[in-house]
Symmetry: C2
Subunit: 337 residues, 2 copies
């Protein structure tokens, strides 16, 4: 029998916790029999939700945690002081090897800090980046780093490129993924100090398919599979994607409602349009993995519904079965030798 | 009689030069009698275009320039060696006070370098930023800096904020414009080193309406009127705006063409939709001013058609009549005292 992948899920994290989180966990185990979910959080709250559903009981377990880390709390202090929070308890299970992965829609800061302090980095990894998939014209690209390490150094970006390429190849299934660095022009001499220093280092990497600079304009067209950038820039890219997308869709809707003629047209267009636009919605991919840790940590959107939690949990299976961390470890060791 | 505003237009710059540039100039003088356009470039090429149109002859003049700076040329070298290029000749007219403004769709690098080396900075201005208007849900916002000064310092960003606010107030007509700094979270303690250092300096400025950090997600909603950021980030914002917009529109079109039902709907929706989406197109605003120079320099898109050139020329009138540079000079002097 196939080995079970054990995924801890923070039942208390996110705007829609615990209801949507628990539902997401139930949906995941109902879909796949190779997943065991461990829900951390307040026992009573979790049980109240679980009793609504039918699911294979042996695939969901509760581990109690009496505290909750709120979004506004300073992350380092929260991780250190709230030892019995759903995040700290959950991450400790991964640390002790009692689980393979941890999924949370809770405080980004606490997840990033906890990932480093509790789960810990793979030996040789300098900084673990947050790496969400973002939609492109005909697929998706991995954005590393989208917010974990501001003011990163060139050596960090090189590791981001390697880890990102490993993820895209083995989790998403893109053969020899194209890696690009975000720049303000296509030429090698363009850029800020960080990009100018990083560019030649990436060119020297024989274990990735580095295609050079990519301009932000070309990212949505899917010009590369792994988009390497410093966290401040990555965060701007991720959030502007969401913002421009949302405003433009609202403009399209508004435009369709301006005349009687267009209103009739809108009714006819709606179903087909909805389907196409869904392909351009970031939510479908589940959360963003924090790469380079001794175990997988996935950060889901704070606004996650059950569907994103389910996708985040299922993502962990591929990550574990493809032995992504072992592959990252190998790449980093080769780099050091 | 109202004083004429003299605008030099680089007839040789951009993908559609000289045809669209000359047509844009003709349209501008046909629209307004307070503008005089001086076209710089190859006399024969310009005359061949001009003879196609009817316009008040006294409002367009040609000043010969035998050379053209190509986009791929290293900017500093090009500005120094091609003394008889349409850009250098045109900028010299502004420098000597024979014209008020210079508009070009040519090489960005050459325009930025020429602006500093030939036209020169206003005394006290450390770095002149490129400041395009970008569309928002119900209007437009000024993005400073979108590409002129990578790796800027906090004092530069403070000047960008002041110049941007002056522009939005007096050229675009937004009373007491809201100024925000691009950040990766709304809280004051968030950000990279540059933003953390700049934030308190902006808070101290009593002459601008600083609203704090803005996340990229909120920019398209029009959360502020002046968006302050370092050039690398600004360039990513500008280009991602274009990229996400273009891909999403193509997705909408594709979605509308998937079924017979949706195709019929598309025909009905099209006119209304086109109008709404036009409001979200950056081209309508004309080029981006390079703020803080002794005279106005406007960089139009390389792909500019006549319409963008006309809008860029007309923008110069408002800039001159509102005495933007005098207002910037005052603000900077107050800062120094």
């Amino acid at each position: 029998m196939q080995e079970m992948v054990k995924v801890v899920v923070d039942a208390m994290g996110g705007d829609n916790a615990p209801a949507e989180i628990v539902r997401g966990a139930v949906d995941a185990v109902n879909k796949r029999n190779d997943i065991k979910v461990i829900l951390t959080g307040k026992q009573k709250d979790i049980e109240d939700q679980l009793q609504k559903y039918t699911y294979p009981k042996e695939q969901i377990e509760i581990v109690c945690a009496s505290e909750v880390i709120e979004t506004a709390e300073p992350p380092v202090k929260a991780i250190r002081s709230k030892k019995d929070s759903s995040i700290v308890v959950g991450m400790n299970l991964v640390k002790k090897g009692q689980a393979d992965a941890f999924v949370s829609a809770g405080s980004s800061g606490a997840i990033l800090v906890g990932g480093q302090l509790i789960v810990g980095r793979i030996k040789g990894i300098e900084r673990p980046p947050l790496a969400p998939l973002i939609p492109t014209k005909n697929g998706a690209a991995l954005l590393v780093d989208c917010g974990a390490n501001v003011d990163a150094r060139p050596s960090h970006l090189v590791q981001f490129a390697k880890m990102g390429a490993t993820y895209m190849e083995h989790v998403v299934g893109i053969k020899n993924p194209k890696v690009g660095i975000v720049n303000i022009g296509a030429e090698e001499e363009k850029g800020n100090a960080l990009v100018k220093e990083t560019f030649p280092l990436l060119k020297q990497c024989t274990d990735i398919n580095f295609i050079g600079s990519v301009e932000a304009r070309d990212i949505p067209y899917g010009i590369c599979d792994v988009i390497v950038c410093e966290a401040f820039v990555g965060n701007v890219i991720l959030k502007l994607y969401e913002g421009v997308g949302a405003v433009l869709i609202s403009k399209v809707k508004q435009g369709m409602m301006t005349t009687l003629r267009s209103k009739i047209g809108a009714m006819l267009v709606k179903p087909a349009l909805k389907k196409t636009l869904k392909a351009f919605d970031a939510g479908q991919y589940g959360g963003a993995p924090l790469l380079g840790l001794n175990g997988l940590v996935v950060k889901a959107h704070g606004s996650s519904k059950a569907n994103e939690i389910t996708n985040s949990i299922i993502q962990c299976v591929q990550f574990k079965q493809q032995q992504i961390n072992e592959k990252i470890r190998e790449k980093i060791m080769m780099q050091e030798n």
